[in-house]
């Protein structure tokens, strides 16, 4: 009978590698994002960023071609939807302009921090994040331009996310669709909720926080803004999303609300990082 014997060294190597990986996981998990491994990540990001930029420049035509090929059907539908939307918006232009002017006067009188000309840095997206377990992207500026972890990131339309890590010249932006992202939002009736990401391409899930008030009456299409309360990580009155669905489960007084982000997170090019931190 033939007997196959595996080298015992293989077992030792495998055990050593598994032990090393477990050690790294334990160290990083206990450091809560501020330890030596986070610094290593930042340094690696700084080293790789020029290479990524060069590779991106070379591969962009291939990427654009593949994206167009993969998304051809949805692109045609999106094109038609946008044409219809432009036509509808043109009809609303005059009314919107007057309403916007009135809103600016009201909000300006309230001296809201976010609308009071807080400094912001314009950044460009250099890659859209390739992980299937994280919704993030990389931008072309870092701590050298004043960026810091925790700063809110916005685009024309509303909230995009927050700075989750920053090297000297590159930063990673965690998008609001990421499951680890959460933001306090204002609900009708002085209620406050917590909107949490549910994954790439999924609407945010809103949990009503205030339970000593009457349940909020929310309807589909309402726009929700950041609450900006004392413990919040974002300034107030930044548009977050539009209500996509409101369902009150049987036996519950609080509705299950989902939000569609106001910003198209798949078509981001230029963003604004607000140089703001919670007090």
């Amino acid at each position: 009978m033939a007997v196959y014997r595996r080298p015992s060294r293989t077992r030792y190597v495998l055990a050593a590698l598994v032990l090393a990986a477990l050690t790294l996981v334990t160290i990083d998990a206990r450091s809560n994002g501020g330890g030596v491994l986070s610094n290593v990540r930042s340094k690696v990001s700084d080293v790789f960023s020029p290479l990524q930029q060069g590779t991106h420049a070379v591969l962009r035509p291939i990427g654009d071609f593949l994206t167009g090929a993969i998304d051809y059907g949805s692109l045609r539908a999106e094109n038609q939807r946008l044409r219809d939307q432009v036509a509808a918006l043109q009809n609303q232009a005059v009314q919107s302009a007057s309403e916007q002017a009135a809103a600016q006067q009201v909000l300006g009188q309230q001296n809201l921090p976010f609308l009071a000309g807080r400094p912001a840095v314009t950044v460009e997206v250099i890659n859209n994040g390739s992980s299937n377990y994280e919704s993030s992207l990389t931008v072309d500026k870092g701590t050298a331009s004043g960026l810091a972890v925790g700063q809110p990131v916005v685009a024309a339309g509303g909230l995009v996310g927050t700075v989750s890590s920053a090297g000297a010249h590159r930063a990673t932006i965690l998008l609001l669709s990421d499951p680890t992202f959460s933001v306090g939002v204002r609900l009708p009736g002085s209620n406050v909720g917590n909107a949490q990401g549910a994954g790439r391409g999924q609407p945010l899930r809103v949990t009503v926080v205030t339970t000593n008030l009457a349940a909020p009456t929310v309807k589909k299409g309402d726009v929700m803004l950041t609450s900006g309360l004392d413990t919040e990580k974002f300034p107030p009155y930044i548009p977050v999303g539009r209500v996509a669905s409101v369902v009150t489960p049987p036996g519950s007084s609080e509705p299950d609300i989902t939000l569609s982000p106001l910003v198209d997170l798949t078509q981001l090019t230029y963003l604004q990082v607000v140089l703001w931190s919670p007090q």
Partner: protein
């Protein structure tokens, strides 16, 4: 071998996001891990998987460093073990190994992540995990052919082929001895 890993990491972080199908991107680091296991056996799969996973961990911020290294190391070792023990013609089975290995890697990553407190990996629910596993596995079945070709060319007689660890070269699946009783 290190250069191949760095090159694949660059392509992964720049091009892979443009290849999303149903919001799922391919993962070149697990593909090269499976190639290493198929070409070099258990030890090669473990070594390349560890370093490929560690490199992948450098580009994410919401999961701890080492989680991908642990996952890919175990998957690479398992693929190598199966290759050494049962499979003889690796070329025909490469897409199958790519599919199965990647699906297993996704499920193992989520399971280990949950074990280490990364509950955000389960927020999307079972359907999201299955979707990611299936689409990523299909991508791997396609991409493993060119990546495997590049791996065997680079691993065969290259100067740095053994720097990541012993047995990373192509065709180094050895049996220590066969004892006939």
């Amino acid at each position: 071998m290190g250069l191949l890993l760095v090159f694949l990491a660059l392509v992964q972080t720049t091009l892979a996001s443009d290849l999303r199908v149903f919001q799922v991107a391919p993962d070149l680091m697990i593909v090269v891990t499976i190639c290493a296991g198929m070409a070099g056996g258990t030890q090669a799969g473990a070594w390349v998987g560890f370093w490929a996973g560690l490199l992948a961990d450098m580009f994410v911020t919401t999961t701890p460093v080492g989680l991908s290294a642990l996952t890919y190391c175990l998957v690479g070792a398992s693929i190598g073990f199966v290759r050494e023990s049962f499979l003889h013609d690796r070329r025909l089975l490469l897409p199958v190994a790519g599919f199965a290995g990647t699906a297993a890697a996704v499920l193992l990553f989520v399971a280990l992540g949950d074990l280490f407190g990364q509950s955000q990996l389960l927020v999307g629910g079972r359907s999201a995990i299955i979707r990611v596993a299936l689409v990523e596995a299909l991508w791997s079945a396609v991409l493993i052919i060119p990546v495997g070709f590049a791996y065997t060319r680079l691993a065969r007689g290259s100067v740095g082929a053994d720097r990541l660890g012993p047995g990373t070269g192509a065709g180094t699946v050895h049996t220590e001895r066969l004892v006939v009783k």
